[in-house]
């Protein structure tokens, strides 16, 4: 049986919980073989392949909720602090580079400091640095050297989640 090009890379990345991005050559292969990979992951592992124009990733019933929650807290806090600072948070996250120092300033001076201190992955500078590396491994950010990074298009996954909170609340109301 013949597999699409870069099959091994695609499987390795997705199984490692990474987001595959449009900038990667594997994204195009996934796009061309979306049906195959949907079936492949469902039949092989009972995982669901989610494919959008901005990212592709795998979902299973066995989900890493703790990591996902901390990622949401990280992005939520950053969005809130950027907005409070008079910045256009969505544009900054979409298009700008961040310095670790800037992140540190926002987190150490945040009014959500109690929440930050209670979170193992975000409580101090070292934890946050490790957490940023986790985000990098998952392709949610791309590190540029040791002290800078940009968000990838995978950030939209979390922004969509935030929008859904409001929509869901409106439905409840």
């Amino acid at each position: 049986m013949e597999f699409p090009n870069h099959h091994r890379q695609i499987v390795e990345d997705l199984m490692a919980g990474k987001f595959i991005l449009p900038t990667e050559r594997t994204f195009e292969v996934l796009k061309e073989n979306e049906d195959f990979y949907e079936h492949f992951f469902k039949a092989s592992f009972n995982f669901e392949l989610k494919f959008t124009q901005d990212y592709a990733y795998l979902v299973s019933d066995e989900t890493n909720e703790m990591l996902s929650r901390d990622m949401c807290i990280f992005i939520a806090l950053l969005s809130y602090e950027l907005d409070r600072d008079g910045k256009n948070f969505l544009e900054r996250i979409q298009y700008s580079e961040f310095e670790i120092e800037e992140i540190e300033n926002y987190f150490t001076n945040s009014s959500y400091i109690d929440l930050i201190l209670s979170n193992k992955q975000l409580k101090d500078a070292e934890s946050r640095r490790n957490f940023i590396n986790t985000l990098n491994r998952r392709n949610i950010i791309e590190k540029i050297g040791d002290n800078r990074f940009v968000f990838t298009s995978a950030h939209k996954f979390f922004m969509d989640f935030a929008s859904d909170i409001v929509k869901f609340e409106n439905v409840k109301d």
Binding site: R8, V11, E12, L14, M15, A16, G17, F47, Y57, L58, V59, S60, E62, T63, N64, E65, M66, L67, S68, R69, M71, C72, I73, I75, A76, L77, S79, Y80, D83, N88, F89, L90, Y112, L115, R138, F157, F158, M159, F161, A162, S163, D164, I165, V166, K167, E169
Partner: protein, 397 residues
């Protein structure tokens, strides 16, 4: 007594701060009460109530006041502080323009004076329509930019509501009015008027009417260009800007809601990474090894392993006894060879050497000539040269 126009204009200039305050009050409350009028004039230190009424800037409404429309529009225009108008208000021009145009077409050969008056009216209506569209675009842009900068610290939910309202109630309907491709739009109607006036500005028997049509035609060229520009502002700038405010506000509201209690909220599903990787450097070879054993379809036979001969252990006592029984032995090495041949048929070299070790038994009396005599013994393929040794006795003789 009618006031001098210059006097009125000078009055407006001199007391413009008071007039602006009155304008703000009316814009906000819809009316200027007697008390507010007194407060404003007292604040600025000038009692100009009489002049305001005398110059017809204000008019009485029951016991209150309002700025006359002509002055209100003037100040509004000067300050560029227009309030967005509902498209329904603009839509009324559709009726007036369509009606005038219908009458012009139907009574083209009727009374020329009336025709010219109708063309002039049509031109006025078109001008008013365009001004209203322009005012609306400016006001929407101002409001949007203000909301974007959020100087008034509007709550995120309120931002979503406002942005949604502007999109749904103002911009989209206004865009429909300006959409020339939409047959029911005012822009489309203006296009018909333009075609019509173009035809009759060149081909009409009355010169005055030709000139009127010519003016209308050039006015419409300008208006169409301007409307196109307004439409572009709406679709290219305003709509994305408001859409963005709405999206941002929704996301931020979502995050703030989430941050209230992230530990009780559901998190989005992301894959739990497993330590076992599907591919490892060895997996391929391991899998290949497993599958390769099934690949060969030929029958596989296993030869029965030969039962290994029991390991031979030299029984010294047995052979010492045997030697004793055979004494005297003239040639010890020959005796060894013969004994083994009798026992095993085939003499193996290790057995031979084991047996010859009896010669070192201290109890054996060995005899050999002073000059050694040698002879050859053949053991399988090996020929050994050994001395001739005689054994007469065992033990002390």
């Amino acid at each position: 007594m009618k006031a001098e126009p210059r006097t009125i204009l000078r009055f407006l200039l001199e007391y413009f701060d008071i007039i602006t305050d009155l304008y703000d009050t009316q814009s906000k409350d819809g009316i200027i009460t007697f008390e507010v009028l007194n407060q404003i004039t007292e604040k600025h230190g000038f009692d100009i109530k009489i002049q305001l009424l005398e110059y017809k800037v204000l008019s009485n409404v029951n016991e209150n006041y309002e700025i006359r429309t002509v002055y209100y529009n003037l100040i509004e225009f000067i300050l560029s502080e227009f309030k967005p108008m509902l498209p329904e208000t603009i839509e009324k021009y559709h009726i007036s323009i369509a009606e005038l145009f219908r009458k012009i077409r139907e009574q083209l050969n009727g009374d020329k004076v009336l025709l010219n008056q109708r063309i002039a009216e049509l031109s006025n209506e078109i001008r008013s329509f365009y001004e209203m569209v322009e005012k609306n675009t400016i006001s929407l842009l101002n409001e949007t930019r203000e909301l974007k900068a959020n100087v008034k610290k509007v709550d995120y939910r309120e931002k979503i509501i406002r942005a949604s309202r502007w999109i749904d109630e103002y911009i989209i309907p206004l865009n429909k009015i300006l959409d020339i491709n939409h047959s029911a739009s005012i822009a489309n109607k203006l296009y018909d008027v333009s075609e019509f006036s173009n035809k009759y500005r060149l081909n009409f028997d009355d010169e005055n009417t030709r000139v009127q049509f010519e003016r209308l035609y050039f006015q419409l060229i300008q208006v169409n260009d301007n409307l196109l520009r307004q439409s572009k502002i709406l679709t290219n700038e305003l709509l994305p800007l408001i859409e963005r405010i709405r999206t941002e506000s929704i996301i931020l509201t979502g995050w703030i809601t989430y941050l209230k209690n992230p530990y009780k909220q559901k998190a989005p599903k992301i894959l739990k990474r497993k330590e076992v990787t599907v591919y490892s450097p060895d997996t391929f070879f391991n899998a290949a090894e497993i599958f390769e054993q099934f690949k060969n379809e030929e029958d596989v036979y296993f030869d029965e392993e030969e039962v290994e001969a029991e390991k031979w252990i030299f029984d010294k006592e047995h052979y010492t006894q045997k030697l004793k029984e055979n004494l005297p032995v003239d040639n010890f090495f020959k005796w060894c060879n013969k004994t083994l041949k009798d026992d095993y048929k085939k003499v193996e070299i290790e057995k031979f050497f084991a047996l010859t070790s009896l010669a070192f038994d201290e109890n054996l009396l060995l005899e050999y000539t002073a000059k050694p005599e040698y002879e050859k013994i053949k053991i399988n393929d090996l020929t050994l040269t050994v001395p001739k040794i005689k054994i007469n006795n065992h033990g002390i003789s």
